[in-house]
Symmetry: C2
Subunit: 221 residues, 2 copies
DNA sequence: TCAAAAGTGTTTCGGATACACCCATGA
DNA sequence: TCATGGGTGTATCCGAAACACTTTTGA
């Protein structure tokens, strides 16, 4: 599971630390009577307290060799068995998350995507695949509802896109495209406190946003 | 597993028939020391005799409820347990396939995608998801190497695309785009025996084709 | 000699990109 | 008053889509 958040103009990912061990992506086990999707929702909720989050399955990893070095526990332990990981990524509102370590781990916290430490097994590759999928999904799905606070400015939204894509975008063209999606409401307020001209605040039209999420966007973004 | 073939201008899918039961998508079990990808390759090979096939993982299905009606065997049988299916689709050359039923089934044959019968459990949805993924992959990956004979004409290639996409395309624009990909070699021969002007034969430049498969295509197709 | 299929080139249009000017604010 | 960031409008370009004419072939 790859939980992405956005804070201080940086894309963040939530990592767990094994007791005495390295960092890893959070995970969980699918219960016997539980659907895989439900399991993802449940473990995300246990870890962050959040509900109704955008969760996207992106790939299933099932090479036994990927767990090489798995000698942390004795060979007799159930945990030494072979696992298959079904990768999901989540987009969550950073400020609403209260990271909770699970039973197996001692620490749970956000890391800057650019600065994640060495991860266990193939978790780095899993994270990269999640990022890659997120970037592709950006082509035909709106992003932001789950990553930004309710009210936000156009430059903030642009920064989010630039951070995910890893490239800078033209300010004016970006605004045109975003408004063209017709999923944003411009509020009458402006964001005060900045050092310069006060930018407008926007918020997503939840209904239109959800519709766009499901149907996909006709033209990119 | 969803094996697609192309024959007589129709997209085909390979189905198995349970003993005394309904039709279903072919599948297999992942061995303990085997990677999930290898398992897909192995079962495809056992079923069709083919190697080096384009195989693409598209989604993992894990809702226990999807197997409702699973009362074909006694509740004590291992097969009555809960399964998770990792979906792969394959593109294979129709004429090279010699369909082999597996141990659990009595029949294995091609069906026209438009005319598949009722399938077991959620296999119809799985097939639809495979088709949907194939259509999307068409946007940035070349298709045809594994679905057409070595030598083929431009109208045949176009027909393949039209069949997968379910819409008709402009003959002239299609040719321009295809040649623009620079993965086709035009042969000096023409296809004879037709009732009209003899079309050129083409074949894929295997190296360039593979490169395009891995890197993706810059502009659509 | 005619209908049907195939080969090739030109025009047109729309969305994306590049770009310029004015406004508001705090230092 | 000026540097910085924000709001808006216009020109341009390129690739996709639309489209027309000629050639070949068997009937």
């Amino acid at each position: 599971m790859c939980d992405f958040g956005f804070h201080e103009n940086q894309l963040k990912v939530l990592l767990l630390k094994w007791k005495e061990g390295p960092w890893c992506l959070p995970g969980g086990f699918v219960k016997h009577e539980e659907s895989v999707d439900d399991s993802a929702v449940r473990t995300l909720n246990e870890r962050t307290g959040l509900e109704n989050i955008y969760l996207q399955q992106f790939h299933t990893f099932g090479d036994p060799a990927r767990e090489k070095g798995k000698k942390i526990v004795s060979a007799k332990s159930w945990i030494s068995k072979r696992f298959i990981s079904i990768g999901y990524y989540a987009l969550v509102e950073f400020s609403k998350v209260n990271p909770q370590p699970d039973i197996l781990s001692t620490e749970c916290r956000w890391w800057d995507v650019e600065k994640v430490p060495a991860l266990i097994y193939d978790h780095k590759q899993i994270m990269n695949k999640a990022l890659e999928t997120l970037r592709l999904d950006l082509n035909d799905h709106p992003v932001g509802y789950n990553l930004l606070p309710q009210k936000f400015t156009m430059p903030e939204l642009q920064c989010l896109y630039e951070t995910i894509l890893g490239e800078s975008l033209d300010r004016r063209n970006f605004q045109k495209r975003m408004l063209g999606l017709e999923i944003l409401d411009r509020l009458k307020e402006r964001k005060l406190g900045g050092a310069h001209k006060a930018p407008f605040l926007y918020r997503f039209d939840k209904r239109k946003y959800q519709k766009a999420l499901q149907q996909g966007l006709k033209s990119g973004w």
